[in-house]
């Protein structure tokens, strides 16, 4: 059972780190639905760098830089050009899928490095995710910079009128988010399942995206949701370990998604929407154009 929990936490780390990045940028009003693409690109380039150099450090560095570049690209389209953020995100996803499929093939197969070390038997990057959640919470809710970031996500016109550079802060958020999402992709491809295959993420980026909405844009709830989904996903593969002879395995495999539907039903209730409305960044996904 403990090993099951450890594997679940390893999966949760991937979801949590990527979702924390997305949360940060959504708090600043930028919506990137192309998390899957950012993770694929960063994970693949990080994998190639680590495999060719034999160094985890180089792998993670390349992944972070890739994430930053893709974040910048998304920022350029969303902030400078003011184009539809959902369309931009989808394009990044398609770009990530196509480009990594093409470039990654010669590197198909296991990474070949020694397994990434754990800390007291726990996945290292789960602890990193916890630390990041605390840091992001502190940044957003306890610092002046965090207040400004949230303000550009809530009402950029008022923020601009207060002397805050909406464009600058949104770019900062997009780049930082890209780096975190890229780190999530690299944690998957270098640590969680260090084997490159085309489209290896198989939708994990979209789960991370959904977690941000579930979390009410709260970093700690992101981690909690990631752990919950990680355990549920793992349990759906081996339900007999906890609940022998209860339901068929096919029902268990559907369970994470059934629960997702239930969560969405809860989200759609008036009570929840009122609460949700109070939490959701008002300007999320909306392009800001400075008034002359």
């Amino acid at each position: 059972m403990s090993s099951l929990l450890v594997i679940s936490l390893a999966a949760a780390a991937v979801f949590a780190i990527a979702a924390l990045g997305e949360l940060l940028e959504q708090r600043a009003g930028i919506l990137n639905v192309g998390l899957e693409g950012v993770m694929l690109l960063s994970g693949t380039f990080g994998f190639i760098a680590a495999k060719t150099s034999g160094s985890y450090l180089q792998g993670f560095t390349v992944a972070l830089l890739t994430g930053a570049l893709v974040g910048l690209l998304h920022g350029f389209f969303s902030i400078t050009l003011g184009s539809n953020q959902v369309v931009n995100g989808m394009a990044i996803w398609i770009l990530g899928f196509g480009l990594t499929t093409y470039i990654g093939y010669p590197y198909t197969g296991p990474l070949g490095l020694k397994p990434f070390p754990t800390v007291a038997g726990l996945p290292t990057f789960f602890l990193v995710a916890l630390a990041l959640a605390i840091a992001i919470w502190f940044l957003l809710f306890k610092t002046h910079l965090g207040l400004k970031l949230r303000s550009v996500g809530e009402n950029p016109s008022v923020a601009e009128a207060s002397g805050i550079s909406v464009t600058g802060l949104r770019y900062l958020a997009a780049i930082l988010a890209g780096m975190l999402v890229g780190l999530g992709g690299a944690v998957y491809s270098l640590v969680y399942n260090p084997v490159w295959n085309y489209n290896y993420l198989q939708g994990w980026g979209f789960i991370a995206l959904a977690l941000v909405f579930f979390s009410l844009w709260n970093p700690f709830l992101v981690v909690a949701g990631a752990v919950f989904f990680g355990i549920l996903w793992q349990l759906s593969l081996y339900p007999e370990l906890l609940f022998p002879n209860v339901f068929s395995r096919y029902i268990w495999r559907a369970m994470p998604f059934v629960i997702t539907i239930v969560v969405f039903i809860v989200l759609s209730t008036r009570w929840f929407r009122l609460r949700w409305g109070a939490t959701k960044p008002e300007a999320l996904g909306l392009a800001y154009q400075r008034e002359n």
């Binding site: 196509g98 093409y102 093939y105 070949g112």
Partner: protein
């Protein structure tokens, strides 16, 4: 080295081209177009004879001469001889990409080996072909490139060819069979008897396990998977009996051929919860191999020798693997076509069939292979040191008998149902304990290809 340099330059040039295109992307729409070109569409490419990816040597360099008898009991009649100069264009539609894959990689290698062997045989291909693309691509290859033998390398992309077989009576269409066995004089169904190699792997796996637990990370119950697993399980059970060991085979289905994260999770759980110290897979990602590597477990491979051809691991992890030589099957079709004859409508060869490659190497349809070595020599040196001599001798003896066509595990052993498997229309899963085929009775090809819809008695199918 020259060949590798050429391939490297080619790869660099392809990457360079792509980078140039990527750099020119100014709008997301362009990136979508790029993605469509790079990831979602087939690559119309003609493979020049002799061109071989650097990662895939055309011949096993360290093949043990002693492991290959000089006689060829069931050698294809014209194999090794130069056929008449009738032009043959072998067109293979690959369901996946080629590079880095064990299934399409083996088909591609087969096409290249035949193009090397016969000057009048040209090999062309398309990658990542979906079922809706099969017919258009096939007709395009017929019209523009003169294809006369057209292969779908998986059943789901091969079956649509049935729609055009009557339209092109002088062409030969070929489809790998998984469960359907529809065939016509110019619609040939093929599959290699990989279960023979899997049986030998099973012997080794059972002897290697110290915990008495062998795990299979499997795709989903289908006839191809059930037959291949049955071959492996027969080997495990025979070796366990011989060594007086209690060995359990745990099988967990992940739901599809390619689910890297699920495959990893299942492999981890087989190791941690079911105490498996030997794992094999009936899936396509490298996740199970990586789990074995990370946890110091033995891995038993499938379809292709990935230690030799892809360098994915070493023999410290891969105890044994097997290789599939589709060229033996394609050669039978090419030989028939050259002579103006109709090939057999179902081609299901095993270790008894072989061809001689251009460099003189003999290869059988399937064989145990690891680190470029074949036969008993293919067993990892580290694993071999742990195996009782009687098992090594048994592997050598059974392999030799299968190469001579004198022995087959599915003839020798009874096939007893576990009561689990795949319910097929008109073919219910036999109740547990049912002797579906008694020992010593030779099953028909149709039985082996279509009727093994059950797991063998004694396996543990995890829910």
């Amino acid at each position: 080295m020259t060949e590798q340099s050429r391939m490297l330059r080619q790869k660099l040039s392809r990457r360079g081209l792509l980078q140039g295109v990527a750099a020119g992307l100014a709008v997301p729409v362009a990136s979508a177009l790029l993605a469509a070109c790079a990831g979602g569409q087939a690559t119309p490419t003609t493979a020049p004879a002799g061109q071989t990816p650097a990662a895939q040597p055309t011949t096993p360099p360290a093949q043990t001469p002693a492991a290959q008898p000089t006689t060829a009991p069931a050698q294809t009649p014209a194999a090794g001889a130069t056929p008449a100069a009738k032009e043959v264009v072998l067109a293979i539609l690959h369901f996946s990409v080629i590079e880095g894959t064990t299934w399409s990689g083996a088909h591609d290698r087969a096409g290249k080996r035949l193009a090397e062997k016969y000057p009048n045989v040209k090999y062309i291909y398309r990658e990542q072909v979906g079922p809706d693309q099969t017919v258009p691509f096939a007709e395009e290859m017929i019209a523009k490139e003169g294809a006369n033998i057209i292969v779908g390398n998986a059943e789901f992309i091969g079956m649509p060819l049935l729609d055009i077989v009557d339209k092109y009576p002088d062409k030969i269409f070929v489809a790998v069979t998984t469960s359907d066995l529809t065939h016509k004089p110019n619609f040939i169904r093929i599959f290699p008897r990989q279960y023979q190699s899997l049986y030998l792997e099973g012997l080794i796996a059972a002897a290697l396990t110290k915990t008495g637990n062998v795990g299979i990370v499997s795709a989903y119950p289908n006839l191809q998977v059930l037959r291949r697993q049955a071959g492996f399980v027969l080997g495990v059970q025979e070796a366990a009996k011989k060594l007086n060991k209690d060995v359990k085979v745990h099988i967990k289905y992940v739901g599809d051929w390619y689910l890297p994260a699920e495959e990893r999770a299942v492999a981890e759980t087989l190791a941690t919860q079911y105490n498996c110290d030997v794992l094999t897979q009936q899936t396509d990602s490298g996740s199970t191999l990586d789990v074995c590597k990370a946890r110091g477990l033995w891995f038993v491979g499938k379809d292709m020798d990935t230690v030799c051809f892809y360098k994915w691991a070493t023999t410290d992890t891969v105890a044994i693997s097997f290789d599939t030589r589709w060229e033996v099957i394609y050669d039978k079709i090419i030989q028939a076509y050259m002579k103006g004859e109709k090939p057999p409508e179902i081609i299901f060869p095993g270790m008894e069939s072989k061809i001689t490659l251009k460099d003189g190497t003999e290869v059988t349809t399937t064989d145990i292979m690891n680190d470029c070595k074949v036969g008993v020599e293919a067993i990892s040196p580290k694993a071999k040191a742990e195996l009782p001599q009687e098992i090594i001798d048994l592997v050598a003896q059974r392999r030799e008998a299968m190469r001579k066509g004198e022995w087959d595990p599915f003839t020798e052993h009874a096939l007893v149902s576990n009561g689990t498997g795949l319910e097929v229309e008109g073919l219910p899963i036999p109740p547990k304990g049912t002797v579906v085929k008694p020992a010593g009775e030779k099953p028909t090809d149709e039985f082996l290809l279509q009727k093994i819809n059950f797991d063998l008695d004694g396996v543990n199918i995890l829910p």
